[in-house]
Symmetry: C2
Subunit: 423 residues, 2 copies
Amino acid sequence: MKVALLLTGNELMTGDTVDSNSSRIAQSLALQGFDVAHKVTVGDDLDLIVEELKNLTARYGIVIVNGGLGPTVDDLTAEALSMLSGQPLIENPEALSHVITWCNTKGVEANAANLKQSFLPENSSVIANPIGSAVGIQLVFNECLLLCTPGVPSELTAMLGGSVSDALKRAFPSAKARLVRRLKLFGMGESALQQLLADHCPDWPEEVTVGFRAGAPLLELKLEIDSMDSVDLRNACEKELETIVGEFIVGENDDSLASVVVDLLQQRKQQITVAESCTGGMIASQLTGVSGVSSVFEAGFVSYSNAIKQTVLGVDNHLIEQFGAVSEQVVRAMALGAIEFSSADYAIAVSGIAGPSGGTEEKPVGTVWIAWGDRDNLQSHRFNYPVSRQFFQTMVSALALDLMRRFLLGSTSLPDYFQRKSH
Amino acid sequence: MKVALLLTGNELMTGDTVDSNSSRIAQSLALQGFDVAHKVTVGDDLDLIVEELKNLTARYGIVIVNGGLGPTVDDLTAEALSMLSGQPLIENPEALSHVITWCNTKGVEANAANLKQSFLPENSSVIANPIGSAVGIQLVFNECLLLCTPGVPSELTAMLGGSVSDALKRAFPSAKARLVRRLKLFGMGESALQQLLADHCPDWPEEVTVGFRAGAPLLELKLEIDSMDSVDLRNACEKELETIVGEFIVGENDDSLASVVVDLLQQRKQQITVAESCTGGMIASQLTGVSGVSSVFEAGFVSYSNAIKQTVLGVDNHLIEQFGAVSEQVVRAMALGAIEFSSADYAIAVSGIAGPSGGTEEKPVGTVWIAWGDRDNLQSHRFNYPVSRQFFQTMVSALALDLMRRFLLGSTSLPDYFQRKSH
């Protein structure tokens, strides 16, 4: 079933706001079996809004409007619906009660601007907003179901999972819900993965749709099925994926490299420390972004200078003089020093040249040594990512965490990151 | 002058990609005096694309198309232009030469997919793409200027500042360029700043448009003028702003709190260190994200546990036992310990409860002590931000860097962050 979106707001036209709401709406609707086919964005311009409502309601069975429900004079959705449908705006008792309750909760008196939000077209109904003062509006016009939602992302999100979803279910009880699984991979590009699937799964079933979302640093693989009947098929596909690229699968949904490493450490009640030069605290920051990290992480060291590598991490000055700060010998000494000082079980250490300056012919910008593992089984390897400073730090942090993840899972062989075109 | 955008791509419809290109386009066009009035997004559907091209070219003098220039069968822009204008697709010598040169640079043979990108509608011309294989396409249809741009953000960005901007200048030589100044503020919300402007600048000149973009943690204030004639007016407005909220102005354009702190330290050839508990490396990571930081930052310490606060930073165990890890005494000892170990001139130290667990009645989740300054003039203060873990870490890092920024500028008085409604 096809859906059109109408987004309103001057801030969307000037580019001052990047529209993430339409992505939220599309992903939520997809789970209920509805596909967005057409998306129109206009500023706070009543004539243009009404014109687009006419156009879209004539062509689609469902139109979702986003924005324009607020209390200011720029918020024109109710008025546009009234002009479209020829129904007057009247005070809706449910909307009024919602606005007054909302104002009471905030400890303020409902003013004229607040009360404006309770005036809806006569034959419309309220879509509950559990967070904000503006209720959503539902109206059927020309056999098209119009659902109007607020532009505030938190309010929209709450409604998509609740009242909007309920309204769609009531209107289209036979729509088939879709089931989506999102797997997170690290170390493999989208085209390599597509090629692998084409090579190894030529008989991939039509019922299991595959989608990709390339992110830095994780690649998301989406498996979508139309009904519970296809669950077995999807599970078989997932098993096949596990065989082909299992080692690259980090987790699912909201999993990150850091959260998976923290989880593995929590399971074995062990601790990790980090000694960072070129990543400058990013690995520690990602680990400590995970709730509950304190049981597995006590200390991190950012040793940006050679002097600090010696005084804080106890790296032998001769190693730095002989091999340079960006060397296997130094990065291993950093890891062992960090383990020593922190009494952690495992360490990650990185030393590299993030650029834009500081490179040499032998060690150009993008060179990085990473050490990972425990005192008795410390791994180390040199990588090269000649990219922007920010992307370098992001990629090196991800690489280091993934190597640690693999180590904790028992693998010390070096993966063929971003290179394998076929298995 | 009003512009319409037509964005194409299935990934924009499913919500798997958030459209940031239209924001890039709108901001770039605004500098040249063009406003986006209408934005339509459709999937890779030839009929729908042609229909929308007809509709938009009939209504606007300029239509910018984004996406659909790539080598795959899903890339339909050239074909759609051909159907719209009735002109056949022919091999364009300039486009062909570009594709072959591009493939040569990459060390690959141009294949059929690559060569498809050199077929353009007969009366169209090439818009140069300095990065990718796909050239942009310029075509005049029905007195409407159509400019087709690639969906890859880096290619689009390069073209917006170059070949697309040139094409617009050639077509509309009398369009008036706009001048935009973007100021970055920390510690003040949008509504408070609006109120201040209303109170203190009732005679704000019409020629200087004010815009806001709320970000976390910085608020962007945009001052826009239509011509060089208004420069003096804008400068007067900026001076007025400086008087009212100068202490909250961090910098402009791409400045961040970290980059401004690094810059101030570089000017005085001094160094900073950080001792982080609840922010877990985020402050160090933000500082080391700034290119050239190594002259002002040598060491950072992430001391997540009490034991590490003692062993690494030399915090007296009695202080922790008597006052707790989240206390003025401990955070000051952390700062002094970090200065001692790193020989830096300044330190930032933070200790707090990021949550979601770990709070007590006396020190609930969101409590944080920050110390900042130098050995002889160390400041400290308690703040409270009972928000999500991630937002807490972001806000505390920003607070700490801003306090350091103000200290380096000679101010040790505590600002009235996020509270002042009027001056």
